[in-house]
């Protein structure tokens, strides 16, 4: 399938060699693929951008917390002194690390091995911003290993690669690839969807039609550019479409199946990797009415209908605010101001070179906006977000990154403990909804807190226990290393340990971005003093890390 290039290539290829952990026993190197073309740096001019001045350590930490799977000391050192745009540009030019390549190098016979590859890449990949954005996109354009797709590991990885490949590309291309993907075709049952059969009382399947509108593009109600709903005189939100619209789109999405299907009804061949192909005899060729009353003429091919329908969706004014706001929520803060959403929407609608839907420009706008860079100073009591459980784990494992992650490393059941796993949502509605509001102070203040939806008296215990086990029982100064575990490296902390102030200053920056309160610091010191006998230095270090990493302060990104 050819994708129409909408971006103008500005830069030559910047060759970067990735550092892959040395070839120790059981080590697995990450592969990079040469990009097909030089990555163009997205043109960005966002209104109300923060001054693009050199970052302090703490400012660098905040940018890394928003744009990576967790700050490492080396990353903080590298980013501080740079401007936000310079860091973002460097990240955007790194070649992509793909999940499929990782899975080919792993034990793909193991259940949920793609999850282990995801962990490996979230922790080790250099193209962190791309990886983090792809993860955010995987929670908007949801496909899940549930519903019987868990056996299609390469299909899942291949789907995730679409998100990685297009993370800084154009949203229209992304919609196109996602719509034709056979795994999505199975997940939301567009694959095998056929034209009406009046004799048999069969009408087209509405599943994909409904969810591409409701979840992947425009949402249910008409939006202003700032993401607030448009309402009628009584204050009731105006719907963006109705049931009739869904039925028309359902007829658009007819006539597609596996690329190698030999039969449309009961194919034996199942190609979960190649884009789906059209079958003209199963496509509904009647006229259709799309969003905004746009008419599709009768007699068009499945392909022409699909492209016209995706254009129609992509050009709806809701897409900018709907997608921009969710990306802000995934990366920066649960409760962006209307102005922040409006400024990012403007970039989605038209970037500096007149392109609509440039995700690269949108991501830049999100991270360079004054609210992202200084919101914690403007709204110190409410700015930020509850960290997603997966990201709490990647932050820990990146902060104390092991020299190598063993080939046998296995945490494929993460979802059971964390209520979150890559491509492991319980439904197309993601793990949590963008408007979930935790009862109590958050709700009474009119705020939302999406990630709280999966946090309850059970999951808070399993998450805490997982952090504890990963810190206290799985470090490189403990003697019973198990190759299936991630073994955190505390060598640097052991060197600092004799000077407790130096150690705590270091952990404060590494785990809390320098926000440790005096009271928390006193508690950490006291707990360390309880392990004051000889030979317990490593115990003191891991107790300190445990108490900080499980604190409420470490659970929130600010």
């Amino acid at each position: 399938m050819t994708i129409i290039k909408r971006t103008i290539s500005l830069a030559g290829l910047l060759c970067v060699l990735t550092g892959c952990g040395g070839g120790g026993d059981g080590a697995v190197a990450l592969q990079t693929r040469e990009p097909a073309s030089a990555p163009a740096l997205p043109a960005t001019e966002v209104a109300n951008a923060a001054p693009d001045t050199p970052l302090s350590d703490q400012e660098a930490y905040r940018l890394l917390e928003q744009g990576t799977f967790g700050p490492r000391i080396e990353d903080i050192q590298l980013a501080s002194g740079q401007s936000p745009e310079s860091w973002i540009n460097q990240q955007m030019q790194l070649p992509a690390i793909y999940l499929s390549d990782g899975l080919h190098n792993a034990d793909s016979e193991r259940w949920n091995e793609y999850v282990n590859v995801w962990w490996r890449q979230a922790i080790q990949a250099d193209d962190q911003l791309r990886q983090r954005v792809a993860f955010a996109l995987s929670q908007i354009l949801v496909v899940s290993a549930h519903d019987g797709l868990g056996d299609e590991q390469f299909g899942l990885a291949n789907y995730y690669d679409i998100l990685l490949r297009n993370a800084f590309g154009n949203y229209r291309d992304l919609l196109s690839e996602v719509t034709r993907n056979p795994l999505m075709g199975e997940y939301l049952s567009m694959k095998g969807n056929r034209k009406p059969d009046l004799a048999e009382n069969i009408q087209p399947d509405e599943n994909y039609a409904r969810e591409i509108l409701q979840l992947f593009s425009i949402g249910q109600v008409l939006l202003n550019e700032d993401g607030t709903p448009q309402t009628d005189a009584e204050g009731v939100p105006l719907p963006a479409y109705d049931q009739t619209t869904i039925e028309n789109f359902a007829r658009v999405f007819t006539g597609w199946h596996f690329a190698n299907a030999e039969d449309f009804r009961w194919p034996k061949n199942k190609d979960y990797l190649s884009p789906m192909e059209p079958w003209s005899e199963y496509h509904d060729t009647d006229a259709k009415t799309l969003l905004g009353g746009v008419e599709l003429a009768a007699g068009q091919s499945a392909e022409a209908d699909l492209n016209a329908a995706l254009d129609n969706i992509f050009n709806h004014p809701n897409v900018g605010p709907f997608i921009s706001k969710q990306l802000i929520q995934r990366l920066v803060t649960s409760n962006p101001s209307d102005g922040y959403v409006r400024d990012v929407t403007a970039v989605f609608n038209q970037n500096a070179i007149g392109e609509r839907g440039s995700l690269g420009s949108v991501i830049k706008a999100i991270l360079m906006h004054t609210e992202a860079r200084q919101g914690h100073l403007q709204e110190p009591d409410t700015f930020g977000k509850m960290k997603e459980p997966l990201i709490r784990m990647t932050q820990l494992w990146r902060a104390f990154e092991p020299e190598t992650i063993h080939y046998n490393f296995n945490y494929g059941w993460a979802g059971h403990e964390l209520r979150q796993a890559p491509l492991g949502s319980p439904s197309v509605f993601n793990f949590f909804r963008p408007d979930f509001s935790q009862p109590g102070e958050i709700r009474s203040n009119g705020l939302v807190s999406p990630e709280f939806e999966i946090l309850d008296e059970s999951s808070v215990i399993t998450i805490t226990s997982r952090l504890l086990a990963s810190i206290l029982w799985s470090h490189n100064f403990k003697n019973d290393a198990d190759s299936e575990r991630m073994i955190i490296d505390i060598s640097r902390e052991m060197d600092l340990e004799p000077d407790i102030d130096a150690l705590l200053d270091h952990l404060d920056l590494l785990l809390l971005g320098g926000r440790m309160s005096f009271e928390l610091r006193a508690e950490v010191e006291y707990l360390m003093s309880e392990r004051s006998y000889d030979g317990a230095a490593s115990q003191r270090v891991v107790e300190a890390i445990f108490l900080i990493a499980t604190s409420p302060e470490a659970a929130v990104q600010r």
Binding site: P204, R210, P239, S427, R443, S458, S465, P552, A555
Partner: protein, 453 residues
């Protein structure tokens, strides 16, 4: 609302058999027997409602199917290849509207025949009574975003008309119920984490899993090595903090610590009675945990409770003829297992289980599945249920008939508010409280569908 005025709303007396005549076909002998039975077997004043929520829109029209020749043919014509042949249905005795169960729902037959299970026909999210004409001309208040999973499941669980007040009707009811027990924080219990039904401004639900309450690892306060760590961990939770998210996180962690240790001990004491759940049935596992908690009701000093349990997978756009039978098997075996457990605990008359779901399915097939509908058949189960009958009104299943909109999406003939009201009256809310909890109930003539004692 202060405690004094809330107390006024509770009606703890035994209810009369109001509205029983609303059933399509009530077996009067059975009704009287059930009423007498209930009056004598009421072992205590304890009452619990258990909501079994079927995520994704359960096809109730395939679970309970009319067996009358005309009605069956009408439905079969609409359903095409998804229709269940008449001879495969499990015929139910009782009621004057012949009805059959899906062949994989055989576990429900004895419950129905013994009068412990009632079917309630064609319920849905109506704000006010709605005819086809009113729907088409948009002349009545309608729920926003009909046919959308997220909106209709929230609508079902909040029943707040067109408002999203962010309060579930379970939570509003629990506000009335929680005054009557020393551990008010155990009034609402969820085995499915956060949910909209139990979420409101008052007492929050307590969440646990089908395996019970979980232990913190490495934080045992009774272990000499771990206790300094445990104490430090708890002191950190109690530090002063000013950010709304860190405060909310600390609150949740504190709740988890205090309630789970207490509850863990109680559950350990009666665990041996609850080791026989069916294999590979996660709904049964969760309901088994509900039964275990209910067994500890007196020990915990609980008088009134609401439980939320969910089962997913009902959004059968594809492979309906393969997937739905499996789902029905798991669902109905779990329900029968649970009722059996409750009966053995001697709490049959104290516990009422009911089903709810986003919506029913459309009648038309999309080739190998169904799309989102509206009205749906549901069930209530327990010793206080006047079972063995079908309540409400069976709709016409004609594709172009008076109860169909968008070709094959069935207009509900009974409102979810009426269903909820019937259940809430049983659990002890008086009329005024029911009106408070269910703001739309006044739009309907009948506040009690009659399926509860």
């Amino acid at each position: 609302m202060n405690n004094f005025s809330r107390r006024r709303f509770l009606d703890l007396g035994t209810r009369t058999i109001a509205g029983a005549g609303l059933a399509l076909g009530v077996n009067p002998a059975l009704t009287l027997a059930r009423a007498a039975d209930s009056a004598t077997s009421q072992s205590s004043d304890y009452r619990a409602l258990v909501c079994v929520y079927l995520e994704g829109g359960c096809d109730g029209f395939s679970l309970m199917v009319p067996t009358g020749s005309y009605e069956h043919a009408e439905l079969a014509q609409a359903r095409g290849e998804l229709a269940i042949p008449q001879h495969q249905l499990i015929s139910l005795q009782g009621g004057n509207s012949p009805l059959g169960l899906h062949p994989n729902a055989a576990s429900l037959q004895p419950l129905f025949d013994d009068g412990h299970l009632a079917m309630i026909a064609n319920i849905g999210t109506l704000i006010e009574p709605t005819t086809q004409e009113q729907y088409l001309n948009n002349t009545v208040a309608l729920p926003a975003q009909l046919f959308s999973h997220s909106d209709q499941s929230i609508q079902w669980q909040q029943l707040q008309g067109r408002d999203r007040a962010q309060e579930g009707w379970g939570a509003r009811a629990a506000d009335y119920l929680s005054d009557f027990q020393e551990r008010d924080y155990l009034t609402s219990i969820s085995l499915a984490g956060s949910n909209y039904w139990q979420s409101g401004s008052g007492q929050r639900p307590f969440s646990l899993t089908g395996s019970g309450v979980l232990e913190y690892q490495g934080l045992d306060g009774n272990n000499n090595w771990q206790s300094p760590r445990r104490e430090a961990f708890e002191r950190v939770l109690n530090l002063p903090r000013d950010h709304v998210f860190t405060t909310a996180y600390a609150d949740l962690q504190k709740r988890a610590i205090s309630i789970t240790s207490e509850l863990g001990q109680v559950l350990e004491s009666n665990a041996s009675l609850f080791t026989d759940q069916p294999e590979d049935n996660s709904l049964a596992q969760k309901l088994n945990m509900v039964a275990q908690l209910i067994a500890a009701q007196e020990q915990l000093g609980l008088q009134r409770q609401i439980y939320y349990v969910s089962m997913s997978g009902f959004d059968v756009h594809d492979n309906q003829s393969l997937e739905l039978p499996e789902l029905f098997k798991e669902l109905t075996e779990a329900l029968a297992f649970f009722q059996n457990k409750i009966d053995m605990l001697g709490k049959s008359a104290n516990v009422t289980t009911f089903t709810a779901s986003d919506f029913g399915r459309s009648l038309l097939s999309n080739g190998d599945g169904t799309d989102h509908g509206w009205g749906n058949h549901l069930m209530a189960m327990g010793g206080a249920v006047m079972g063995g009958s079908i309540y409400g009104e069976l709709p016409s299943f004609a594709l172009d008939g008076p109860d169909s909109v968008h070709r094959g999406r069935i207009l509900p003939t009974t409102s979810a508010s009426q269903y909820a009201s019937t259940l809430l009256r049983w659990v002890g809310l008086d009329e005024a409280a029911v009106s408070e909890v269910l703001p739309d109930i006044g739009n309907f003539q009948t506040r009690d569908l009659g399926f509860m004692i």
